[in-house]
């Protein structure tokens, strides 16, 4: 590489200064980063309000997720790992069994009204315990909506942190999972809820 080409490279320092200025001037609507985890590469995205999405990248490409975030929230999206640092740290601790609850502010704007009710109830299921679609439906006052509860859990934009994996089918059948049932099983085993 010639000296001129090296000089023209948009280097890390230049980018990081740009990210900082964008953040300080309130122009960074959605920050994202990716992280390796025992359940695969995860995409993490956060607005100024809080964590807005965790996506399993084997189910949906990073590119597709970002495009959807651009359309649904704002195209002012930058790769800015710093804002996601608390999320990454808490997830890392969770994955090695050193954390049993998350203390993060969440942005629920990717949830529908009904989904919000279902997921708020789901958040109260403690680590290591499980519930069923029917029970969650009952608890939010929609006893006949077990199937809709299943759909709402499947559309959970913040899996793991909002523990939709703790909701099973009646009779303790595993049921479905947005990230694939093998991951649901892995998480439940991690938490000791499944032998």
């Amino acid at each position: 590489m010639t000296q001129t080409a090296a000089r023209a490279a948009v280097n890390g320092a230049l980018l990081s200064r740009f990210r900082d200025r964008a953040e300080n001037e309130g122009l960074l609507d959605v920050a994202f980063t990716t992280m390796d985890s025992p359940v695969g590469l995860l995409l993490l995205a956060s607005t100024r309000k809080g964590l807005v999405e965790i996506a399993y990248t084997h189910e949906r490409s990073v590119e597709k997720s970002l495009r959807e975030l651009a359309a649904k929230l704002s195209p002012r999206i930058l790769e800015a790992p710093r804002r996601l640092e608390p999320v990454r740290q808490q997830l890392d601790a969770y994955f090695v069994g050193k954390r049993d609850r998350f203390e993060l502010s969440l942005d629920r704007s990717l949830m529908s009204g009904f989904g919000r009710r279902v997921l708020r109830r789901t958040e109260r299921i403690p680590y290591g315990q499980v519930s069923t679609y029917g029970d969650v439906a009952l608890e939010i006052g929609a006893p006949r909506a077990a199937r809709a509860v299943g759909n709402a859990l499947g559309a959970n934009p913040i899996p793991i942190v909002i523990p939709c994996h703790r909701v099973l089918r009646a009779g303790l059948l595993l049921g479905g999972y947005g990230g694939g049932t093998d991951r649901k099983e892995w998480l439940l085993k991690l938490e000791g809820a499944l032998a």
């Binding site: 010639t2 080409a5 930058l78």
Partner: protein
């Protein structure tokens, strides 16, 4: 139905990060050419912040590179004006010689953008980025002769079109 959705997705504004990834170095090269390496970093910051600020209101996502270049040229003009009012550091003669006057060059840049892709990139790398033919050949994955040829053809068209 799926087709319509796909077309809508293509028209939608992509995440700004992709603009940085795809066009960041070209913008920086243009700025180095216009204001010199000393001021190019600040100009780059100003360009990208202005772009980010205006981005959600952008109506047409079909030529994002051209849009960024237009903002960069405005920032280069601002920067050239500002630096013409302050003493020029003697130790950085390159910054002075590299400075062009972008006001006069607006028409020229429009024509540059209208060139076929390889010619445009070759001309910009050669004259905005000050890069060697060998380097241009490497960037475009063509031979050095082809790089010279592309620069030559591009310049010939520009001479014809810009009077």
């Amino acid at each position: 139905m799926a087709d319509r959705e796909r077309r809508r997705a293509e028209r939608a504004l992509p995440p700004f990060q992709w603009l940085l990834d795809e066009h960041g170095s070209a913008v920086l090269r243009l700025l180095i050419g216009a204001v010199g390496p000393v001021d190019a970093d600040d100009c780059f910051q100003d360009t990208m912040l202005s772009a980010l600020r205006a981005y959600p209101r952008l109506r047409d996502a079909s030529n994002l590179r051209g849009w960024l270049f237009a903002i960069a040229r405005r920032k280069a003009i601002d920067s050239t004006r500002a630096s013409s009012r302050r003493p020029v550091p003697v130790a950085e003669p390159e910054a002075v010689t590299a400075a062009v006057s972008p006001e006069r060059d607006d028409e020229l840049w429009n024509e540059v953008r209208a060139l076929p892709d390889k010619q445009r990139r070759a001309v910009v790398m050669r004259y905005a980025g000050d890069r060697s033919y060998g380097d241009i050949a490497g960037s475009l994955a063509i031979s050095e002769d082809a790089a010279r040829q592309n620069v030559h053809e591009g310049l010939k068209k520009l001479r014809r079109r810009v009077r």
